[in-house]
Every structure is written in C-alpha cells, then in structure tokens.
C-alpha cells in the first residue's frame, strides 16, 4: 500500500503509445492461460481425436470393408467426422469462463472484446482443428484414401477447421447462458458449416480426380477471411447478450 494517492489517481490510457503493447500482452496472456488450462486437462484435447478415430472406425463396420467403396466415400466421411469432432469441444469454449466469472472479467478488460474472444478461438483451433487435420491422413490410410490426396486432406482440414472454430464460436457464445446448450449449439452452427464442408470435401475429391485444388482451397481461404472479418463482432455481441440474460 505504498503511495496511496497514486493508486487511486484517474488514468486515461495513452492511445498513441501504450495500447498496442498492452493489447498484445493481454491477448498473449489469454492464449497462454487457455493453453495451460488445456494442458492440465488433456482430455479436452484428446477426446475429440479419439471420437474422430472412433467414428471413422464405425463406417467400414456399418457399410462395407470393400476398399474401393471406402475410397469413394472417404473424403466426405473424413470431413464430416472431423467436423463433428470439432463441434464436440465447442460447447466448452466459453462455458467454464462463464461459470467461474472469468468471462465477465474478460468483458470488463479495457481492450476490444472481439480481439480477446478471437484469442480464445485461436486456442480452440490450435488444440482441436489442427490436431484433427494432422490426424486425418492416418485415418485416410485406413479408409484406402487414394494416394496423392493426403496433403490436400490435411491442408483443407487445417484451413476449413479454422473457419469452423470462428463461426462455431458465435453459436458457443449464444448458448453459453443456456444450461445444457450442447444440442442447441449443434443445431445453430451445423447449417452454417455447409459451405466449409462443400469446399473442404470438394478439395479432397478434386485432388483424387486429379483436377486442380487451387480453386477449392482459395474458396476455403476466402471463407476464413470473411469469417475473421465478421464473426468476432458477432461473438462479442453474443457474449454480451448471454451475460446479460
């Protein structure tokens, strides 16, 4: 309690100098905190991966072990299963923060909420979308995915799952105040996932067919860019609404 007067003096943040640095450190601290939390509870990261592998295992059992048939449906299966796996962990994106009060502190930080929310979404992608994309080629082998499409599979999933995380975060923010909002969340975001699924699975199919994948990947990139421009504001607005309710 040294210099009591100084501690209670009004400050006005110096926009020209200090803000950028302090925003960067706030974003960094938020990502770091979320990563530490996930490392302490690795189940949150590993379970979607196990789910992904399990769903892919069910299809040959449910349909047919015929490699030729599997090769045809593999791109779509891998994409749909990865999409559902990414959806699994989405519900927890803001829920814990809302329950322990950290979310309202995030809203009261003297920084733009869209940026802070995006930091959390980035961690979600790093710990869900990216591992799923890296794991997909292994499962592709099990589904006799034709050679030459493995790189495109991983790349399209890495790119597409980023869009899924960003758009899905809107749904997570809207349902964070709803108890047991998990099913509702999937109802809200799955229709919005359709374009990503089309261009993502399309990219893999194009790679198998030997036609160019550049257009598909470019469209996936365009979707991500559009999502990054619009979604953070929607996430921030949704978080404020959910905490008001």
């Amino acid at each position: 309690m040294s210099r009591p007067e100084a501690r209670s003096a009004i400050v006005s943040p110096d926009r020209a100098r200090g803000v950028d640095a302090s925003l960067t450190s706030a974003l960094y601290a938020t990502m770091r905190r979320d990563l530490i939390l996930l490392l302490r509870r690795p189940g949150a990261v590993l379970n979607p991966l196990a789910f992904f592998a399990l769903v892919i295992t069910l299809f040959p059992i449910g349909i047919s072990p015929d490699p030729e048939l599997l090769a045809i449906i593999a791109p779509g299966l891998l994409w749909v299963a990865a999409l559902l796996a990414a959806l699994l962990s989405l519900d927890g994106l803001f829920r814990e923060d809302a329950e322990d009060g950290a979310l309202e502190q995030l809203l009261l930080a003297p920084h733009p909420l869209p940026a802070l929310a995006l930091a959390k979404v980035a961690v979600h992608w790093l710990t869900t979308g990216l591992p799923l994309a890296l794991m997909a080629p292994v499962l592709g082998v099990m589904l006799s995915l034709p050679l030459g499409s493995y790189g495109v599979l991983a790349l399209s999933l890495a790119l597409g799952s980023a869009t899924l995380s960003v758009i899905g975060a809107i749904g997570a923010a809207l349902t964070v105040g709803v108890s047991r909002g998990g099913v509702l969340l999937s109802l809200l975001v799955l229709p919005l996932y359709v374009p990503v699924l089309i261009f993502g699975a399309g990219a893999v199919q194009a790679a198998i067919a030997g036609s160019g994948v550049a257009a598909h990947l470019a469209l996936l990139g365009a979707l991500l860019a559009a999502a990054l421009v619009f979604a953070p504001w929607a996430i921030a607005a949704s978080l404020r609404i959910s905490l008001n309710g």
Partner: protein
Amino acid sequence: MSLCLEARKLACERDDRWLFRDLELVIRGGEVLRVEGPNGSGKTTLLKILSGQLTDYRGELFWQEEPLHKARRDFLANLLYLGHAPGVKAALTPLENLAWYQALAGAGSAEADRMSALEAVGLAGFEDLPAGQLSAGQQRRVALARLELTPRPLWILDEPFTAIDREGVADLEARLAAHVQAGGSVVLTTHQALHVPVPMRRIRLGEGHGHVAS
C-alpha cells in the same frame, strides 16, 4: 483529477418489471456507496449497469462528464469489478490466475507484484497450489488480491465479503477505508454490517424505486 461517475434518470426494466426508476446518482472519490435491498431487487443489476456490463437500461451514464459509451475504454481502465463469482480458475495456481488479470489490466508481468498482492490477502505459502484445492474463502481472497495488484480508483464489488472469515472481513474493511481515504471510491453490496470510518451513502432498492440516503 477526481473520479466522477454519474447516473441520470437511470431506470431498468426486466421482463416488464421495473427494478428501479428515475435513479439519480453521482459517485465521486472519497466515499463508499452501499447498495441495499431485498433479494431480487436489482442490486447486482445496478452494479452491472454502473460497471458498463449491461446496456439495456434507460437514462444516461457519464464518466468524467462524458457519456459512458463514448468514454468506455477510459472508464474500464479505471474500474475494478468483482462479481458474484470470483473469476478464479480452479486448475490454475493463484499466481497464474493473477498473471492473467495482471496482463489484462496492463499492469506488467512482475511476479514480485503478484507475490506481494497474495501476501497482502494472507495467501503467502499458497501461491503454487491449484486454486481448486483452496477453500471458498481462500479463492475469494485470490480475487481480492486484484485490489492490491491492479490499482484502480473505482471499485465496484458485488458481495465481496462472501465466504470470508472474520479476520479477513476486518482486513477488507481496512483496505476499503484506506482506498477511500486515498481518494478512491467504492460501490458495493453486502448483507454484512459494514464498519468503515469513512463517508458512506446508501441506496435502497425495491418496489421499483431507488432512494439515495446518506
């Protein structure tokens, strides 16, 4: 410059019920404002409105004579709000919890600051235990350590005495008094008797009205 948070003709309607109406309020440095009222009378709602979290109210709020929605960043840089939930992550240690708040508030990243803040709330020796292993009162103290860690002139505290033992209550009262004497301001709700040797005003909520009394 002294702080000044002003509410003019403040009113809040929740699902067709008026929590309060025509509330006129000026909060300046050097005083405690205690919000009173029965359960469900809108105490927490009022604190959330005053801290800029809720926007669906009628009337106007001003921070340093400027409309709050324009001066939001300046306002938030001067505010410390502690809500019902302590905002403490069970899986993180008190030091890690405070590190996030420190960075969020732009108060650097010095561990020495965090340690001394934890010492000030009587948590020395607990700094490296996961907060989930601490008692409810100790978790509340982790949140209260932010009062030390990130100096802000305006404190808005929703039930800060929850789960705090008698000794902790006396400590917190002393901290509130010191803050107010240094020119700061405290807005709080509590069900507890409050002993602070500084100017205190009360607002009583209930029946759809708010009365300011000194």
